[in-house]
Structure formats: structure tokens, C-alpha cells
Symmetry: C2
Subunit: 423 residues, 2 copies
């Protein structure tokens, strides 16, 4: 696999990714020279050496899960079908005007090093606070690209689906959470490594791109969930029951691109992400009685079981029966309910959802992320039906929308995104 | 202990705090009548009954720590010396103009019920989404009052220290994070119960007070810490080493009010909280080399050990020796370093710190909360020294400041804050 060429060699590189390299660099940085002003000598770093490492789900060896590493290498990027972190930050960037293909190749080279270091519990090159990276708590950093980035390399390589979605009538976009050239998803079970990684990535992107928007989402804390339950959203609903499982045989054909479409060979192993910001009107939602809210969704609030099955014998895994009727012949799951409208008989018209809750400036909602091969044939028809009719629409509004091509995975020695530049 | 009288009795009250009461109330709420419009019958709540409970550190019985309850009753409120939650939300309110002493008594009665229910994993009265309360993850709700609230009951009961702190020369306040009449601190290891509790409390306060400001802080996730280490702040420092421990014999005399001061009998068992919002200039801080940053603090970044002890044999628990000098006679801990300037020889001039990190709109910093008997004789002299001279001042700015009287604890059957109204 071709890699980029224009990156200067790292001082004290590969064999010594750990403290030594960092000590060299941070000790040598000119800084504000306070140490020198105080008449201080050499850089006594002290303390334990920070663990290097990789691979899947390794543990740094200290008590608590903070030392666990998820590993960043593989056919697919981490952070998509791997266990969801309790916290995720979506960071979108706009490329600077003079960031051309050569600069992008340099940028991906730097990002690759940052991701390899941070997910392994090390500070990236010249990290001034490597201690904040030392306990990654299953940190993953997943990278996607927007249409604008692909076109700086090759218009022919832009997939048809990569760009703004067709307009939906109920969308109220334009609030600063749309589109973007580059997306970083920083995810972990602990906010501290998320905060630190986001900062280091932003620092290293500064000569290539500028922050466009960021969105912070959460789900239940690691270890707080009852076993085997699906996340609840801020409306109180069990959210995401009807979702393909990472163990399902057909998940791969739903979400991973195989590169067979013209010009899309470079995306084999990648995916297509749709991210929607969905505001919830909780104040009016809370005024609806429980039966009304359950009819709106099609599921019981208590346990997420479908209304088509008796409460006593059903749970959230019970399949929905949209044909089941009550004694008056009315469907037990209303035909305008959310799950009925979202449902498709076409097994190819499915998506893999990874939604999280958000709260910001007194607003609550859902950051709805979903993965697929082709948003135009998977997300769009589903959302089209919901946009047309969904009882839930009275209390939700889509206020942000973005589509990104999630880059294929990379192996040790490879560079993330390299296939975009291959001839 | 006197309690307030003007609160209407709760329907289906004490013996049945659980699902029955909620079912009655939520099923009976008029709402938007969607259920009725859909021709739907009674409220079939289904699912498991939500656990009632109290006491310290009980577990709801399901896997994961989410079911753990901290208990809200006792001589002191929970959330001060109890184990810190991974997330804390500080919610300040301004009283409405017509909220008089009678209204305040009603308000505290309602707050008491809310706190008892939410911390026990139940929704409070008429909670539309009790499922979001069901896994409190050690939720605590701690209540403080500002000068404005006390004066609506009795000016004679306002402690001298309850009000804005004396001005410090470096303070840059006035950004909407100062003062307040009422403070709620909502704390848990999981953001979901925090979000839900905050929403329910705001709903129940709506006829008494309006939101003034809110601040959200975090520390390492529960279970993510290496054992026995102190929190790191976003500057990478081990933050809070030199802090009295909840196990210390003299902690009580430092933080818990004994009610002996004139007019302050009602506060016996309470405390005085100072909350400072401290912005960090991470970009310029990161330009300082490590020795410079360590000299600024007086501790090593690697492990928080004081610079007065050799790195090899010291850790963060090693006592600081401010007299120790190097071969040139210069103090090993610089005389202008943060820990040197913060240190007092007077053992009474100490505070109990509970700082958390914050990130908001691209800004990073520390929400510095500390407890004491008297801010004027404990926090103020410490901060006065730091304000005058502290190497760290180049990278931090205090941008918010508030003082609250933390109410005494309450026992089952008692009402939080009742002593304020006692004759």
C-alpha cells in the first residue's frame, strides 16, 4: 500500500515511542523558559515509564479499566462496531484554503501517529502532558472525510452519496452542525483521555484545518448499565433495540464498503456515516401521558417491549408484530408510530445505529449516528418515511446533518487514508 | 425540629413511594391526550417495579454500579465528604420576586421529597420518566443557599461570610457564573441520572426560582482511575494532594459549622462552600517546558511528588519541605510556586477541596469547590496570597465566584432547610 513521502522523519522515531522521545522534545522546546529563569537544570522527568502497546482490549496492568486499550489497527477503524464508549466527541473541521493533496497526505501521516500513540496510552509526538494520555480507557479515534476533502485529491473518487442529504421537509438545519471536510470521533469511557486527545489532535491539525463544529454525546457510564439492556435516551425510551448486532452475519454487507463502485476502490473496508443532531422537546413530551408516549413509539417505556406482545410475556427483544390488532381491529402498534414508520420489509434497507444523548445550553436531544454502505439507499428511505409521518415528529426536530466517508482501517506500518492518494 | 405546614398532603403518600404512586399520577395527567385520541385504554405500566430504598451505598441488586444508592439522610448532606462522583452539575437559581418565606418553606418541602426519591432510584412525584431515575449510580443532590435566600427569611440569620468574597486584584468576574440565591449540586457516576435529576428539580422549582447559571464538571470515570491516585486536572497536574481526608480527625472542625456564631444556630451541621470558576490558558501553558511547569507548581508532573524530595524516593504523599535547598542555596520548591504560596503554617487556615475539570465552548479549566467553616478566615487568606503572587497566575484566571451556605443534613421524616424557618 502506498504511503505519503513528504513527511520529515521523526526524531528518535520508531524503536522509542515512549518517554524518551517525549522527554527529548518537551525538554528541548523553547517554551517560556521559566525553568531557565529560575536557574533550573536538566529535565528530570521522573516517574514510571508510560506503557507502549497495541492490540485489542489490553490492560495497562493497573487497577481500574482506565488502562485498557482498544487497539487502532485492523481492516476497519476502531470505534464503529467496537463497544461504544460512555463519551464521544464529534469534531468536524474545515480545510484551510491552501491544504492541497500533498498537505493532506502529510496530515494523514501525522494523524496516524497521533492515533497510534493516543489509543496506546502514550502522548503523541511532543505531547506536553503525556500523563493525561496514560489511561486511555478504551480510547478510539475514528476518522471520516467529507466531500470537500476528497475533491481536493480527486473528484473522481467522491462517492455519489458523499455530500448533503436530500432535503427533508421537517429538517431545520443551518445551526452550525452541518457538513464538514474532516471528522474525528473521539470516544472513551472516561472524559479525561477524550479531552486530552481532542486537544492534541486539534493542535496537530492547526496548519491544515480549522474547527468547524463539535458535538459531545454520552450514554450510560461504563459499569452503570444493568446487564443486557439497551441505552435509554433522554425521552426515557429504550433506544436502539432494533439494530443489527456486530455479531450478525449480514452486518458486514450492510455497513462495510467493498470498493466495487466506480472510483470507490479506495474506500474498501470503510463505511458511510450519517450524523443527525435531533433536538427533543422534553417539556411538551413530558405532558403526554404514558400510554400516549408508548403509542407514539410503539414500545413500552418500562422495558422497550413492542406493544404487539402482552406486557407480561414480552421484553425489548420480542419481535414487533405490525399486523397484530386489538379487539376493535386496530393495530396494537399504531401505523403512525415511530417503530412502524421506521420499519422496512427490505432487509437491505437497514442501518447500524450508534446514537448518544446530548445536553447543551439547556437543550436536550440525540446525536443520531448511523453506518451503512449507501446513505441514499439505506438512511434516506427510512428518514423519508419518518419525515412524511411519524407521531414522534411533534417532539423532535433534526437540526444538524452531516455525511462522512469513514476511512478504511489501517495496519501497523500503514497510514490511515493512504488509499485515497494511491494511483 | 419544626417543619413547614403549607404543603398539601401527597396523594398515596409515604407507604407507597414506588410505582403505584407514579402510575396513579402519570396515568391521570391530562397531557396532550394522545393515548385517548388513539382510542387507547388504561395505563399498562408493565415491567419490573422500581426499587425503593435508602441508607448508605446500597445496591439495587442488578449488575453494574448503576443501582448503587448513596443515601441522602444524615447529620450532613451527602455529596460533600462522600466519594466524589465522576460528574457534577452546579445549578444556581435566582428566586422569583414573590417567593417569600412561606413559599420557601414549601419549596424546601418539595426539594426534600425530590431528593429522597431521586437518590433512592425513584422518580419524584409525577416524574414522567421514572425509568431514568431507576439507576442512580450514587446520585447525590446537595443544597446550598445564598445571601438573598436567607434574607427573605431573616436578615439576622445571614452569616457574615455569606455573600460575595472580598475583591481579588486578578479576578475577572462578571461572566454569568457569580453568586446566586440557591445552589443545587447534582452528582453521580453516570450522566444519565444527573441529567434526569436536574430536569426534575428544575421543573419543581419553576414557581419559586429561575435558572441563573449552570456549570458541569467531571473527574475521571468511576473505575478508570489507577488505585490510590489523586485526580489530574486538564493542565496535567495531580490536583488536590494536600487535602484533608474525610478520615482526618480534624476535618469536622475545619468544615462543619457548629452553629455557635450569633444567629447561625440554624446552620449547625452545614458548611460554607466557595465555588470558583478558574479558566486555564492551556495553549501557552503547553509551551512551557516540563521543568518550568514543575517549578510553577512545586510538584513533579509525573507523579505529583514535591520537588523538595528526590524523584526516586518520593511520591505525591511525601510531605513538602519548603526549607529544602539545592547546592546553590536556592529553595527546591520555589518560593513563588503555587504550593508554596498556597501553604499556611496555621492549621486552621485549611479548606477541603473538591475540584473538577470543565470544558465548555472550547474553554478549559477547573471548577474549584471548597468547604470550610468560614471562607473569610480560611479560603480568603489562601487566595489572597495566591492573588498577590503565584507563578501559576500567568496561566489561570478566576472568572466566576460564588459563596453558599450548605444546609445541614436531614433525617428521615425531617425537611431539608427546616431550621432556617424555626422560631
Amino acid at each position: 500500500m502506498p504511503t505519503t513521502e513528504s513527511v520529515p522523519p521523526e526524531p528518535g522515531s520508531a524503536p522509542d515511542r515512549g518517554l524518551g522521545r517525549r522527554a527529548l522534545l518537551t525538554g528541548g522546546a523553547a517554551g517560556l523558559g521559566l525553568g531557565a529563569a529560575l536557574g533550573l537544570g536538566g529535565a528530570l522527568l521522573g516517574g514510571r515509564a508510560l506503557q507502549s502497546g497495541g492490540g485489542s482490549e489490553t490492560d495497562g496492568g493497573e487497577a481500574g479499566f482506565g488502562g485498557e486499550e482498544l487497539g487502532c489497527h485492523g481492516a476497519h477503524q476502531a470505534g464503529i462496531v467496537t463497544a461504544p464508549g460512555a463519551h464521544i466527541r464529534f469534531l468536524a473541521y474545515r480545510l484551510l484554503e491552501d491544504t492541497d493533496a500533498d498537505a493532506l497526505a502529510r496530515m494523514f501521516n501525522i494523524l496516524t501517529g497521533d492515533i497510534e500513540a493516543l489509543t496506546a496510552g502514550e502522548g503523541p509526538l511532543a505531547d506536553p502532558e503525556p500523563e493525561l494520555a496514560a489511561r486511555p480507557a478504551r480510547l478510539s479515534i475514528t476518522v471520516g472525510v467529507g466531500a470537500g476533502l476528497v475533491e481536493r485529491v480527486s473528484s473522481a473518487r467522491r462517492p455519489e452519496w458523499l455530500g448533503p442529504l436530500p432535503a427533508f421537509t421537517r429538517d431545520r438545519l443551518g445551526n452550525g452542525y452541518d457538513d464538514g471536510d474532516l471528522l474525528l470521533m473521539v470516544q472513551a469511557d472516561d472524559l479525561l483521555p477524550v479531552a486530552h486527545a481532542a486537544r492534541m489532535l486539534e493542535r496537530d491539525l492547526v496548519s491544515f484545518a480549522e474547527p468547524l463544529w463539535s458535538q459531545q454525546g454520552f450514554r450510560q457510564a461504563r459499569g452503570a448499565e444493568a446487564s443486557g439492556t439497551t441505552m435509554r435516551n433522554l425521552m426515557g425510551q429504550v433506544d436502539g433495540t432494533e439494530n443489527p448486532s456486530p455479531e450478525d452475519d449480514d452486518l458486514a454487507s450492510l455497513i462495510w464498503l467493498d470498493g466495487s463502485a466506480a472510483g470507490e476502490g479506495w474506500l474498501a473496508g470503510g463505511s458511510a456515516l450519517v450524523l443527525r443532531r435531533i433536538r427533543m422537546e422534553l417539556d411538551t413530551w413530558d405532558q403526554v401521558d404514558r400510554p400516549g408516549r408508548e403509542q407514539t413509539i410503539g414500545r413500552r417505556l418500562s422495558d422497550g417491549s413492542p406493544l404487539s406482545a402482552p406486557a407480561a410475556s414480552a421484553d425489548e427483544r420480542t419481535p414487533s408484530d405490525f399486523e397484530a390488532t386489538n379487539e376493535y381491529g386496530l393495530p396494537l402498534i399504531p401505523s403512525a408510530s415511530h417503530i412502524r414508520r421506521a420499519h422496512s420489509e427490505d432487509p437491505g434497507e437497514r442501518i447500524f445505529r450508534r446514537a448518544v444523548n446530548y445536553e447543551q445550553d439547556g437543550e436536550s436531544g440525540l446525536l443520531f449516528a448511523c453506518y451503512q454502505r449507501d446513505p441514499l439507499s439505506q438512511f434516506v428511505p427510512i428518514q423519508g418515511r419518518l419525515d412524511e409521518l411519524d407521531l414522534l415528529n411533534e417532539w423532535i426536530t433534526h437540526t444538524g446533518s452531516a455525511v462522512f466517508a469513514i476511512l478504511p482501517g489501517f495496519r501497523e506500518g500503514e497510514t490511515l487514508g493512504a488509499s485515497l492518494f494511491a494511483r
